[in-house]
Point group: C2
Chain length 495, copies 2
C-alpha cells in the first residue's frame, strides 16, 4: 500500500511510486527509457545553482510523445507526481524533484529530433529535448535563425525554454519565448495528447492553450514538441562595448540608437564595473574591453538583415555622436567575429564568475523600462545602507527593464552564514521595493520552487485564485510538477 | 420568480433579469449608465454584418472599473448573463446578446479615457472604450504609434480588440493584439478586479492571464483597460500597388522584399481582380490603380523608422527588379500621402463593397504561409466546381497565411435563397479543406456565435475539453457571454 504524503503547500492525495507502477513503466520504456542507475540519475536531482536537492527512484526518459502520454496515464492512475525536466539549466529549481522521493523525474532529453524545418514557411518544429544551440545550427543551415539565445544555450532544451517562457539577450527585438511559439504538442495531465503543432501565423480559435502552456513550468502538462518562428539570417552584425557614467545615460543611448537604427539593435546589456571586474578576475582569458574602467558599461549588438545598410558604420556614427554629447565615455566596436565573441563572452560569463566567487543573493526583477535607472540608483543605496558592507551587482537586459539585481555579502563575512542570517530579509526587501515600483519579482526566470513563497506573499489574491482555479481545472489530481509555480491555498492542506 | 432558461448549447441555471436586479443596477449606474430607451438600445442588438439580432431589456454603460465589478457581482448573485460589447464591429456576433432577452448588454464605450501614455516607456494605458483611431492619434501626438490597424478603426474599441485578439493589416510585422498587450485590467466572473496594468516588458510570474483574457471574447471576464506597446513613429512610408499573375508570384515578391528591406514591409495585402472590380463598381470615387487589370494585386506598405534609408527608393528598386524577373506585371508607387490613402482605401473598402453588393458567405481562414498560394488555386476550383456559378473572392493578409475566402452565389441566383440552401454545405466544405491543410477556420475574427458549431465540429476533443475546463473553472456560474466561443459539451444540457 502506497504511503500518503503532504509536501510544500500540500497537494493531497498523492502516492509514492510503488513497485507495480515501476514495473509497468519499465515495461513501457525499456532499458533506454527507464533508468534506475544512481550514477545516471544523480546529476539531475540538483538544480543548476546547486541549492535544491531532490530524490527520484527512477529517471523516465521516453522517446516519443506517445510514451509520454502513456507515462502520464500510468502516473494519473497511480496518483504519482511527475517532474518534467529538460536541460536542467533553470535558476528557480522548477525541474528539481521533491526531496521525499515521491515524484518521478521525467526527462525529455531523448526526444531530440527536429521534425521539420522550412525556410519558405520561416518555421521549425522541434521536439522538447532539442538543445538550443542545435536549433540555432539547424536554422543557420537553411539561411534562417531562431532569435532567442542565452548563456546556457549548449544545454537548455526547447521544452524547458517553452515551459519557462525563457528570455535571454534578444527579447528587446523579438520578445521572449512566448512571442516565438507558433504551436505546441503537449501531454495534458489526464494523459491526452494535445496536437497543436501547426505553424499558423494567425489562429483565433478559443483560449490560447499555447500561451497557457508556455511558462507553465510543467504544472499543466508536458510539452513534447513546439513549432517555432524563424527569422531571416543576419547579413552582418556589429558588436560594441561602451562605457558610461550612469544607467540613465545607458537608457538615453538606447533610445538614440533606436531612433537612428530602428529595430537594428537586438541586444543592449548593462554591465556595472563590479560585474566586469568579477569576470576579469575569475574567468581565465577575459580581457578588459576599454582602456579605462567606467562605472557602467553596455554591450550592444546591432544587426542588419537588410543587405543594404552597414550596422558597423551606423553604430560607429551613433556612438561617436553620443561621445560628443557626453553620454558615452568611451567605446569600442569589434573589428572581427573573434572580438565580437570575446565581448559577448564577458557578458555571458557574469553568472559563471559569480558562481566561482561564491554564494550571493540572486534577484531577477523588472520594472517599467523608463524607471529602471532611478530604481537602480535609489534601491542600491537603500539595500547597501540597510545591510552594511553588502554590495549590489546589477546587470542585464536594461532595454527590457529587466535587471539581475544580485546582492553580495560583505567582503569580510562568511558568505553562507551571512546569507543564512540576512538572506531572507534582504530578498524580501528587494521584492518589496520591486512591488512598490509596479514591477515583477520574476522577470524571466520563473517561479519554480525558489520563489514560490515570495510569489505567494506578494501576489494579489485575485490573481492567485485565478491561477489556482486553472491548475485545479486542468490537473485535478495535482500530479504535474506539484510544489512549483502555483502556491496552493493554505486551506488545501486541510482538504 | 425568475424564469429558468436553456439556450444554445445549454448553460443551465441562469435566470432572466428581474425587477429587483434592474432596480439595483439603475441605482448603481444612474441615468447615464442604465439605459432602457429602446431607440438607444436598438443599434447595439444587431451584429455588424446584420445577421444576428438579440434582445436586452437594458443597456448597462458603466463609467468605471469599479462599476463594472459591481455589475458583475450583482449579475452573479442573480445568476443573470452579461454580454460585454465595445464598438460592435466584430464579424462573428460575439457581442450580440441572445434573442430571448435573458442577458444584459454591457457596453464599455463610456470608459474611454487614456489613463497614461509615455514616450520614454513606449507604452499607453487605455480604457476598454477608447476607440482605436483615437489611440492612434494619442500615440502620434507623442511621436509614437500603436501598430495595429483595421478598416473599422473609427468604431472598434480597445476592449473589443483585446477580447477578440484582433489582427488587421500590420500583423506581418508586429503580430496580432496579443503581441501588443503588456497588461490587462479586468473584472473576473466572480466580480473581483484583476489589476494587471503594469507596462512591464518581461514578467514571468505564473500562468499568463493577460494572454488567456486576450481573445477570450468576454467569456472569462470583462476587460476594462489594457496597457499596450507603442513603437517609434514612422519617419516615412512607401505605399505601392503591384499587379501579378498568381498568388505564388505575390509570395515570391514578399520574400524578395523581406530579403532586401528586412522588416520594413509592414503590410502585404492580396487583392484579386474580382475584389478590385467590386470596389471600383460599388465605392464612389474609387479609381483603378493600374492601367490594365491584373489577375491578382498586392498592396504593399514599407516604412522606415530609421531616418536613414528611403523606403520609396528601396521599394521602387525591388519592384523594378521583380518586373524584370516577370514576377510583377505592373506596379505603381504612391507619390503623395493622398495617393497612398487612395490605394489603402481600395483595400479597406472591399468588405464595404461586398456588403453593398449583397449577401455572400464569409470565411476567415489561415494555412501555413507557404501553402496558401496552392490552397487558393486548388480550393477555389473545387468550390466553384461543386457549386456551379459561384465565385470565390479571396483577399487579405497573404504574408500571414490569412485570407478572407468568401463565396459569392451565382450571378443569376437569389442570393439569400441560395445561401439558405447551400450556405451551410459550402462553408462546411471550405472548413473541411482548411482542416485538411492543417489550417484554422478562424484566423483573426474569432468564434463568437457565428462559428461556434463549426468550431465544435472540427476541433479535437482534447482541445475542446481543455477549453471547457478553463471556462468552468473561472466562470462556474456561466454568466460571462454564454453561447460564445466555448462549445459546451452536449452532456451539459442534462446537468
Amino acid at each position: 500500500m502506497a504511503q500518503r504524503l503532504h509536501y510544500g503547500p500540500a497537494m493531497t492525495g498523492l502516492n509514492f511510486p510503488d513497485q507495480v507502477l515501476l514495473d509497468k513503466l519499465a515495461a513501457l520504456l525499456g532499458p533506454q527509457g527507464f533508468i534506475t542507475d544512481r550514477d545516471l540519475i544523480m546529476p539531475w536531482l540538483t538544480d543548476w545553482r546547486e541549492r535544491y536537492h531532490g530524490e527520484s527512484i527512477a529517471l523516465l526518459a521516453p522517446g516519443t510523445a506517445g510514451q509520454v502520454a502513456s507515462i502520464v496515464q500510468l502516473a494519473a492512475e497511480a496518483r504519482v507526481a511527475l517532474v518534467p525536466q529538460g536541460g536542467n539549466t533553470g535558476t528557480v529549481a522548477g525541474a528539481t524533484p521533491p526531496k521525499d522521493g515521491s515524484a518521478l523525474l521525467l526527462s525529455l532529453r531523448r526526444m531530440n529530433r527536429i521534425r521539420s524545418i522550412s525556410a519558405d514557411d520561416n518555421a521549425v518544429t522541434a521536439e522538447a529535448g532539442v538543445i538550443l544551440s542545435d536549433l540555432h545550427d539547424a536554422a543557420a543551415a537553411i539561411g534562417r535563425r531562431f532569435p532567442l539565445s542565452l548563456a546556457a544555450k549548449g544545454s537548455a532544451t526547447i521544452g524547458g525554454l517553452v515551459s519557462t517562457n525563457a528570455g535571454g539577450t534578444q527579447v528587446l527585438r523579438f520578445g521572449p519565448m512566448r512571442a516565438l511559439v507558433l504551436g505546441i504538442e503537449a501531454v495534458l495531465p489526464d494523459g491526452s495528447l494535445l496536437e497543436g503543432l501547426a505553424t499558423l501565423r494567425k489562429d483565433n480559435r478559443g483560449y490560447d492553450l499555447r500561451q497557457l502552456l508556455t511558462g507553465a513550468e510543467g504544472t499543466l502538462g508536458i510539452v513534447t514538441a513546439a513549432a517555432l518562428r524563424l527569422v531571416p539570417a543576419v547579413a552582418s552584425r556589429a558588436v560594441a562595448w561602451a562605457g558610461l557614467a550612469t544607467p540613465q545615460d545607458a537608457l538615453t543611448l538606447l533610445r538614440q540608437l533606436e531612433e537612428r537604427t530602428g529595430e537594428a539593435v537586438e541586444s543592449f546589456e548593462l554591465v556595472p564595473a563590479n560585474a566586469l571586474s568579477l569576470v576579469l578576475d575569475k574567468i581565465p582569458g577575459a580581457r578588459a574591453p576599454l582602456e579605462q574602467a567606467c562605472p557602467w558599461n553596455v554591450l550592444i549588438e546591432a544587426v542588419d538583415a537588410q543587405g543594404s545598410a552597414d550596422p558597423v558604420a551606423a553604430l560607429e556614427q551613433a556612438l561617436s555622436t553620443a561621445i560628443d554629447q557626453g553620454i558615452v565615455l568611451d567605446a569600442t566596436i569589434a573589428a572581427s567575429e573573434a572580438q565580437a565573441a570575446a565581448l559577448w563572452a564577458l557578458r555571458e560569463s557574469i553568472s559563471e564568475a559569480e558562481k566561482i566567487d561564491g554564494p550571493s543573493l540572486k534577484h531577477d526583477i523588472s520594472v517599467p523600462v523608463a524607471e529602471m535607472p532611478a530604481f537602480l540608483d535609489r534601491e542600491r543605496q537603500r539595500l547597501e545602507a540597510r545591510f552594511p558592507g553588502s554590495r549590489i551587482i546589477a546587470f542585464g537586459h536594461l532595454g527590457d527593464g529587466n535587471i539581475h539585481f544580485n546582492l553580495l555579502p560583505p567582503a569580510d563575512a562568511d558568505r553562507t552564514a551571512w546569507i543564512d542570517r540576512h538572506g531572507a530579509a534582504a530578498s524580501a526587501m528587494v521584492h518589496d521595493l520591486v512591488v512598490a515600483a509596479s514591477g515583477s519579482l520574476s522577470a524571466e526566470h520563473g517561479i519554480g520552487q525558489a520563489k514560490l513563497a515570495e510569489f505567494e506573499r506578494l501576489t494579489d489574491p485575485v490573481r492567485l485564485n485565478a491561477l489556482r482555479s486553472i491548475k485545479r481545472a486542468l490537473d485535478p489530481l495535482g500530479i504535474m510538477n506539484p510544489g512549483k509555480l502555483v502556491p496552493l491555498a493554505s486551506g488545501d492542506k486541510a482538504q
